[in-house]
Symmetry: C2
Subunit: 143 residues, 2 copies
Amino acid sequence: MDSEIALALRNKGCKLTPQRKAIIEVLSGSEEHLTAADIFARLRDKQPGIGLVTVYRTLELLQENGLLCEVHIGNSCRSYLKRRSDGHHHHLICRGCGRVVDFTGCELDSLQKRLSQETGFKIEKHLLEFMGCCSSCLDGRED
Amino acid sequence: MDSEIALALRNKGCKLTPQRKAIIEVLSGSEEHLTAADIFARLRDKQPGIGLVTVYRTLELLQENGLLCEVHIGNSCRSYLKRRSDGHHHHLICRGCGRVVDFTGCELDSLQKRLSQETGFKIEKHLLEFMGCCSSCLDGRED
DNA sequence: TATTAATTGAAAATTATTTTCATTTAACAT
DNA sequence: ATGTTAAATGAAAATAATTTTCAATTAATA
């Protein structure tokens, strides 16, 4: 029973290898954002022979196909998260536990239009992330 | 006649070395966002003996003191820009020439409050950047 | 079951960043 | 002006992150 992400990948004509399945499983099973190295570490048991290169390549592939989200705020610069919301959304990230909450309603469209008009830019994308500390981490004095 | 950034740095009790001045000059003279390596390359003439380490260290120092802005969208993950707007502002970045336009009025405060209430997070910061192509780059078919 | 293009892993290469440490120097006080 | 000193520098090495190369393997299809 392959995950939605896995199926989407096969629909794009990509091979569904055990390595890819394992990487997708790790991402699917996590509410945190994970770097390539994080994912690699979590694969030690499930898929011992896997190479870090494959993790990088798979992340790139999934990213290209819009099957996961890239997170920029945080310790390491780039980390990844399964895509949980279909539409346009953004992230609120806990710096304590790494948990990510999706949110919509950024209402940046009107801002984007305004900026476009004022500057003559053709705006292609935007990056919006909030970072803070979630209530469990606040309670646990992981502050 | 030292720049505002340089003076601010000295007011913080930091030494105003020729290396730091040169780095600040490069940043001050650029409307693009620059990586440590970019800055290092531009110092070849002005300050030939300088080490890349010093560039890294100076960027960190300036960043710590809020004297420049960090940019995340782009080829390399982290690059820097002189701080041109005093208050809270964000960036619109041209992926063609790297030129950065500051803008205000993101109106994320109300969104931030809403998110805080809905999630129980203590929100500490946010990252908002727009990326696109500026009119000159559009004209020049650098598209 | 055979075929084949896609995928993998190992190793090396590249790039980015940080640490260490001996030497130099800006800022300040004579 | 000159001496003092903590801060800053540069070289080199260490570490970390990412990409490339290439021969071997394998998932998907016929």
